[in-house]
Amino acid sequence: MPESTEILNALVLFANYIIVPGLAYGSQLALGALGVTLIYGILRFSNFAHGDMMAFGTMVTILVTWGLQSVGIGLGPLPTALLALPLGILATIALCLLTDKWVYKYYRSQKSAPVTFVMASLGVMFMVNGIVRFIIGTDDQRFFDGERFIIKAREFKQMTGLNEGLAIKTSQGITVVIAIILVILLFWFLQKTRSGKAMRAYSDNEDLSLLSGINPDKVVRTTWIIAAALTCVAGVLYGLDKSFKPFTYFQLLLPIFAAAIVGGIGQPIGAIVGGYVIAFSEMMVTYPYKKFVGYLAPEQWQPDGLLQLLSTEYKFAVSFIILVLVLLVRPTGIFKGKVL
């Protein structure tokens, strides 16, 4: 067999198991981490309720999706959930603004220490957690409909004649496309619009920005609205790609935090990079390179072992190991943190 087929096989293998899922997972983490980082940049605390806000938004979206499906409204090959998404976003925004009004606002007026906010967000986390389970229950919910695949592994094999297949799911495609659109929108907003500039100024130097006549309440409100929208979209995309379960969303909090911090907390660009760093490192460190090397290495060098750096059991720990390493080498995160 010619050498080039072997190389192609190896590349497709890599794309199928690492690049494609990594891009989708990374995008979901990045959107989540963007929300965390915006809150941190403006309100100056780590929002532990983030995972459960995601679950709340997704839950509303699912309920609306079911409603639409029952009256027969759909998007053809695309999932119906995309139609329901705006309502989910609105609900998440409402929830965020309400919690801000009832909980966080008081502590802002008291000029409380950041850790007080963190504790308060913990309280909000517990409550939203209870509410979500209360409404939709604890079960696994799948709400994906429409065409499942852009390319199927088997079709790809027939098309190219390669040993290895490449599959791209619709949900993965949608995730990446939406993530790119949202990120562009966000940066445009932060760089070009008045409110965006106000947000950046506020994040950079609160006192100075107040002196120059920026309305802090408006900045905080805008931040919550944007963060809520990002949060809800991240949750829905994750749910579309995998499945929705309240418990899963609570667990997502940890990799999302890791992503935000590795990138440099408070830094939107950092959150995006952090999301992909966490997603790809989780996969690459635990991937056994046996087959991959098998395609590339000459006959007599075929590996016996799995060539796995860490077993998948430590997948979860990988994001934290990276986090600790980044803190050791570059304590501010990849991009220097705490400026929008």
Binding site: V103, V128, G130, E313, F320, V324
Partner: protein, 454 residues
């Protein structure tokens, strides 16, 4: 209201609540809750040392508690001879390789000048060490784990009395805290939080997956107890005599079979209570020792220095105090206390269950205790530990009761009613959140606040 009165009142209410459980539910339940309350209080004291005294934000309590739990198992379980034989010399070799790698890396770091070569050499040493260690480690692991996997499959422990494990658990936690502190203290304050969160996740991941050491998710059951077993008590004559004396009035009226049956019931009940009281005694002793040390430390010159650092780091540093050094001390001490509590908890459970270490229960709940009780105040932390654990356990029956009361006006068979009653268990989280928010809003310094301005 002065603090002393406030504290007395708060504890009176707390013990009143426990007494109510005793009267309305059962004394066994009240004591079970009390024992866990004490352990929670010790853990909350540990966090209070870090947060209340020095403003260190540790969200890795779970990891320190888990290390304490592992210590309880490693100290108390009998060693598994077959597994040691199966592992053979590879155990020694891989340990040597691991230690050698660390020592070599540290030497390179210390002895060579700081330039690109040093980093390069470090990486070489670490990578070589990793593969050398794995060379001996992997056959060792598979040999040990396959010796009677269903029952043992791990090395076992030292077979010593389990009470010894409490200080050992503290030492384990202190060691981990030293490493974390060296890495993260002195950087921006929230990085300590992040580092502790990360390390605690890694510690638990290791407990779950290093089966040769901890049996992983298969759990280690039946840790030896520091107190007698109920079944032994029920067989023993001295205990029977004791019960007979205690319930004499009750038994006097009965005869024959009825008397025997009543006696049996009393024996079962009394043996349970006796064992729980033994635990209570042990745990309360630890709590008192830790509390005394805390109070002494807080009122010593050292304690004043620590609080001075907390209140104004910059000026303390200007006065020539070694802020990072003191922080490291505090962090290690607080973590050690958490480790001790973790070992006590595993002792009470009688088993090591790595899957039980989840941040919700072991990190966030403890934080709620400290904040609600009153950070910076030892008694406050203890009260928080008691109160919050009490609510954590009692929220479930209370939730069910509340739901059914709230829905009595709905007709039988109404689906809304059924759904509400069905979801009662989830009210536990909701209640915890609500309590936390209410306390933070209306009593922001906790139920028993720190005394200030002395």
């Amino acid at each position: 209201m002065s603090n002393a009165i406030r504290a007395t009142l708060a504890f009176a209410v707390m013990f009143g609540l426990l007494a109510m459980v005793g009267f309305f539910q059962s004394w066994a339940l009240a004591l079970t809750i009390l024992n866990l309350c004490i352990i929670s209080a010790v853990m909350a004291l540990g966090v209070n040392i870090q947060w209340g005294y020095a403003g260190l934000f540790n969200i890795g309590i779970m990891g320190f508690a888990a290390l304490g739990g592992a210590a309880a198992m490693l100290v108390s379980m009998p060693p598994v001879g077959n597994a040691w034989e199966a592992g053979g010399m590879n155990i020694l070799y891989s340990a040597l390789m691991f230690i050698g790698t660390i020592v070599a890396a540290v030497l390179v770091h210390k002895k060579l000048p700081d330039n690109g070569w040093r980093t390069f050499l470090m990486i070489i040493v670490l990578v070589t060490g990793y593969f050398l260690t794995r060379y001996f480690y992997e056959p060792m692991v598979s040999a040990i784990e396959s010796t009677d996997a269903a029952k043992t499959g791990y090395l076992g422990g030292l077979g010593l009395p389990i009470v010894l494990s409490w200080p050992v658990g503290g030492l384990f936690a202190a060691g981990a805290a030293w490493v974390i502190g060296k890495v993260a203290l002195g950087l921006r304050s929230d990085y300590l939080a992040i580092a502790t969160l990360g390390i605690s996740e890694i510690v638990v991941a290791m407990l779950k997956n290093e089966d040769w050491l901890t049996r992983g998710v298969k759990n280690v059951n039946g840790l030896p107890r520091p107190v007698p077993y109920e079944l032994d008590l029920q067989q023993s004559e001295w205990f029977a005599a004791w019960v007979e004396k205690f319930y004499a009035a009750d038994l006097a009226a009965l005869e024959g079979a009825a008397r025997e049956a009543a006696m049996r019931t009393h024996m079962i009940e009394a043996s349970g209570l006796f064992v729980k009281l033994c635990y209570t005694g042990l745990f309360a002793t630890v709590l008192l020792i830790v509390l005394t040390l805390c109070v002494l430390a807080l009122n010593s010159p050292w304690g004043r220095m620590i609080r001075a650092i907390r209140d104004n780091e910059v000026s303390a540093e200007a006065m020539g105090k070694n802020v990072t050094g003191r922080h490291l001390q505090i962090f290690i001490l607080g973590s050690a206390v958490c480790g001790i509590a973790g070992a006590m908890l595993t002792t009470l459970d009688g088993q090591l269950t790595p899957t039980s270490y989840i941040p919700l229960r072991f990190t966030f709940l403890i934080w709620v205790m400290v904040i609600v009780g009153g950070s910076g105040n030892n008694l406050g932390a203890i009260l928080g530990g008691f109160l919050i654990w009490f609510m954590w356990v009692e929220a479930e029956p209370a939730g069910v009761w509340l739901m059914s009361v709230l829905t009595t006006w709905l007709p039988e068979g109404n689906s809304v009613k059924a759904h509400l009653v069905d979801s009662a268990q989830h009210m536990r989280l909701f209640t915890m959140g609500l309590v936390l928010l209410l306390v933070m809003r209306f009593a922001p310094r906790g139920i028993i606040p720190e005394r200030s301005g002395r």
